[in-house]
């Protein structure tokens, strides 16, 4: 029956591409997607049939959260997943208000969900991201820039327990205790990492020359594990073969994609147009958290202070310079112009650094660790020393930012305490502030 329906739909899409391309395209898509939904789901969703709803909510949850399939489903109820998908899509700017109005019990709205999925596919590198996230890791990989770890941390689920004891008032000492605990955990983490590095380095050194890839030279932990335990080896091979199948499906998808978009156009035409009045859907406006607005105020505060500092520094120097230059303007003219151009270029580089994150472009993404005593082939890979150099400047930036905030707090608190009568406030470091 499914096949007959597919044939009917071929008439719908009326495209120049081969007639059987649409089922093929959808099959390729579903083989690429993480939960591997049946292609039948897409057909049902076009006709807005309720059977397709649960699978589509789940699929949306997985592609948006990028939490591994097994652990995500156990910790959140389907209703919570639905709410989360709605709020995430809203915060990403999903334009259709109809989605927010869907019931949370997963009984209807499969067409809307298909449209939401199509929107995600059309908008961004969704499949690419999904593929990258689930990639089988063979090497000993490390992220230099720390974005990955941070992202992983953020994507984790909030523990409901964290909010349970929240209705009571706490002593500030509890906050201090938690901060101490955090420092202690970091210390543990650092020493464990040091040990990990030492062990990795040993394994790499002891397996020198074992890898068939001459550039990589040695084995990684995963590869040695494969040799030490046949069961692990079998699993790894299986996962690798699964991934290869998914990658092949993704390549098919890339080829057949235009057919799919023709089809989704017809899905869009079949769905009722949304109400044109935007004012009546307050739930669909972008979501900015409370924390976000406070962050904006703090940033404004910081930028203003910076501007004041710069203003003062510039003013003094400008006057001094004006006096100096007045006498010798003509002879200095050429040199001054060269300097002006050089400064302009320098500032442009600075702007690019933050606009495109150009300082760390090479550092982004995961890297496979390769131990090589001889040094690298030119143009192949990134050397640790280069990475360290780039990270040092980042460290300096962060330190400066933190130091500045602490200094501001120091001034503010000293001012506040200074207003109290009959008190001597002695900050640490031994310097007195009466």
């Amino acid at each position: 029956m499914g096949r007959r329906r597919w044939r009917q739909q071929r008439g719908d899409c009326r495209v120049g591409v081969r007639a059987e391309a649409l089922p093929e395209a959808i099959a390729a898509l579903s083989r690429t997607l993480p939960t591997g939904p049946s292609p039948e789901i897409f057909r049902r969703a076009k006709f807005d049939l309720p059977e397709a709803v649960p699978a589509l909510w789940q699929l949306l949850f997985h592609v948006l959260s990028q939490v591994p399939e097994d652990c995500a489903t156990t910790s959140l109820t389907p209703e919570a997943q639905v709410r989360w998908v709605k709020s995430t899509l809203r915060s990403q700017g999903y334009p259709r208000p109809a989605l927010a109005l869907l019931p949370e019990d997963g009984t209807q709205g499969s067409r809307e969900l298909l449209l939401a999925l199509s929107w995600l596919l059309a908008r961004g590198p969704l499949l690419e991201r999904v593929l990258t996230c689930t990639r089988v890791r063979l090497g000993d990989e490390m992220s230099v820039c720390e974005c990955v770890d941070l992202a992983r941390g953020r994507a984790s689920l909030d523990q409901p327990t964290a909010c349970k004891d929240s209705n009571s008032c706490l002593d500030v000492r509890h906050v201090q205790w938690l901060m101490g605990k955090l420092r202690f955990q970091w210390r543990n983490l650092i020493s464990s990492h040091q040990e990990h590095c030492a062990l990795l380095s040993k394994i790499h050194q002891y397996t020198r020359g074992c890898h068939s890839d001459r550039n990589l030279c040695h084995l990684s932990v995963a590869e040695v594990e494969l040799l030490s335990d046949p069961e692990v080896g079998k699993q790894l091979l299986q996962r690798l073969e699964c991934e290869n199948a998914r990658l092949e499906a993704a390549l098919d998808w890339c080829r057949l994609e235009p057919v799919f978009w023709k089809w989704t156009d017809t899905v869009l035409d079949a769905s009722p147009p949304g109400p044109p009045d935007t004012g009546s859907q307050p739930t669909f406006l972008p979501r900015i958290s409370d924390q976000g607005t406070r962050g904006l105020e703090l940033l404004a505060w910081e930028l203003q202070a910076l501007q004041e500092q710069l203003g003062a520094a510039v003013e003094a120097r400008r006057t001094a310079w004006a006096v100096q230059v007045l006498a010798r303007e003509p002879e200095w003219r050429a040199a001054m112009q060269t300097t002006e151009e050089a400064v302009e270029r320098e500032l442009e580089v600075l702007r690019q650094t933050w606009e495109q994150g150009a300082d760390l472009t090479q550092l982004h993404g995961l890297h496979r660790l390769v131990r090589s005593e001889t040094g690298a082939l030119p143009g192949w890979g990134l050397h640790v020393t280069e990475a360290v150099g780039a990270l040092r400047s980042k460290e300096a930036c962060l330190e400066a930012a933190l130091g500045w905030l602490q200094e501001q707090c120091r001034q503010e608190l000293t001012r506040l305490v200074g207003a109290l009568p009959e008190l001597l406030w002695i900050p640490p470091h031994g310097h007195w502030e009466p």
Binding site: L170, S228, L369
Partner: protein, 416 residues
């Protein structure tokens, strides 16, 4: 006491930070355990590598998979091996005659066949025999030893050639030694070879990744189709008013402005710290500072625009018990990349990089917590109350000293 709302926020943030740390520690502990296991003695499975000399092989291919031996077992076996070695030395001195005749039928299965891998998994039938039999062999004139491999190895070698065909596709080790030592990576790691099936799968995988990376950017037909679909959807939903910025985009821009702010600040500090000796340097510095000032102005302008956007939209906090927003993976929007190599030449180098990475992660977290603490504690510190002084002291420690030091407060009562 802190107000309930403030307590809730601080505890949630700090618990989040602690959980992130704990999760990371857990993952790290797991991989540490894995690494330690691999560096202890274990038994590589599979047939010899095709490249290595097929000579006197002593391995059994059809044996069950080896589990990791417990440290206790490894220790005992080490002692046993030492005792055996000693026995060999003693025996060699005492009885030189006739030893070669007895050996082959004395120890065909145990010492010889297991010679390269005496560390057997506990609880495995094979391991029990290999544990007990060497003890018997002490009483024999011949014990497994390197001294006479050619005599003892014949039976074992024959058996291996039969077994090789069975598990030819499995992982392999090209080990041709017969010494009764445990297999350790340190001693024999360089003899390991990856199985051919696995190598084929890996090369296919990397080929596919290369293809994916190259096709992503090339198909303009799909890009056009996608763009058209998005336009159509936007038009159909009738949502045309508003800033056109989603909350995620606003957040990303704010994040970028924070980055800009810290870069500009760093730049300013460097400029002010330098001591120009030449008039041209002095001029350069002036221009730099002016340029920075203009850039800060632009950032402030953009921030004001963003603030307006935020003010127009309705505020909504994230419901509790929900996953946080899944942020983009590192590397941003580009095509997927297979991991690039990161080269290091010594353990110290690797450790230095890791320490720096952690330092940055920690600073990021500290910076975030600092902002949260400022937003929550500073307003409280400015309102007098019963615990005002204690609060100020705690806030000073948390906000200005990284909660590592405290200020001292003395009551300064004027002498009468």
């Amino acid at each position: 006491m802190l107000p309930a709302e403030c307590s809730r926020r601080l505890v949630t943030e700090l618990r989040g930070a602690l959980d992130a740390c704990a999760e990371r520690q857990q993952q790290l502990d797991q991989s540490l355990r894995g690494c330690r296991r691999l560096l202890r003695a274990w038994e590589p499975t599979g047939p010899p590598a095709p490249a290595s000399t097929p000579g006197p092989e002593t391995k059994k291919e059809d044996q069950p998979p080896a589990c990791a031996p417990s440290p206790q077992d490894v220790k005992e076996l080490e002692l046993l091996t030492q005792a055996l070695a000693k026995a060999v030395r003693v025996r060699k001195g005492v009885s030189r005659a006739g030893q070669g005749h007895k050996a082959p039928n004395l120890k065909p299965r145990t010492s010889a066949t297991r010679a390269s891998t005496p560390s057997q998994a506990p609880g495995q039938p094979g391991s029990r025999t290999s544990k007990t039999k060497p003890r018997q062999s002490i009483h024999q004139p011949k014990v497994p030893a390197k001294d006479h491999p050619e005599v003892k190895l014949l039976p074992g070698g024959q058996r291996t050639t039969q077994g090789t065909g069975v598990g030819a596709s499995g992982p392999s080790i090209g080990d041709s030694q017969v010494a009764p030592e445990a297999f350790t990576l340190k001693e024999k790691g360089t003899l390991l070879r990856l199985p051919a099936v696995f190598q084929r799968a890996v090369s296919k995988n990397s080929g596919l990744w290369t293809q994916i990376c190259s096709t992503e950017t090339s198909s303009s037909a799909s890009a056009a189709a996608r763009a058209r679909f998005l336009r159509k959807m936007r038009a159909a939903s009738g949502l045309s008013s508003g800033s056109g910025l989603s909350a995620a985009e606003v957040e990303a821009e704010v994040e970028q402005l924070w980055h800009a702010c810290s870069l500009l600040k760093l730049c300013m500090r460097n400029e002010l710290a330098a001591a120009p000796t030449h008039w041209l340097q002095e001029y350069r510095r002036l221009l730099m500072l002016e340029g920075l000032q203009a850039m800060v102005g632009q950032c402030l302008h953009r921030l004001q625009e963003l603030q307006e956007v935020v003010a127009e939209e309705q505020l909504e906090s994230r419901p509790s018990g929900m996953p946080r927003k899944a942020s983009l993976p590192c590397g941003g929007e580009g095509a997927p990349k297979s991991p690039q190599p990161l080269l290091y030449s010594s353990t110290q180098e690797l450790q230095a990089l890791t320490a720096l990475r952690l330092r940055i992660a920690m600073l990021r977290q500290q910076l975030h917590l600092q902002k949260v603490l400022i937003a929550e504690l500073l307003p409280l510190a400015s309102v007098p109350g019963p615990y005002h002084l204690a609060l100020c002291r705690a806030a000073y420690s948390l906000l200005c000293e990284g909660s590592q030091r405290f200020p001292a407060v003395l009551r300064d009562q004027p002498a009468d």
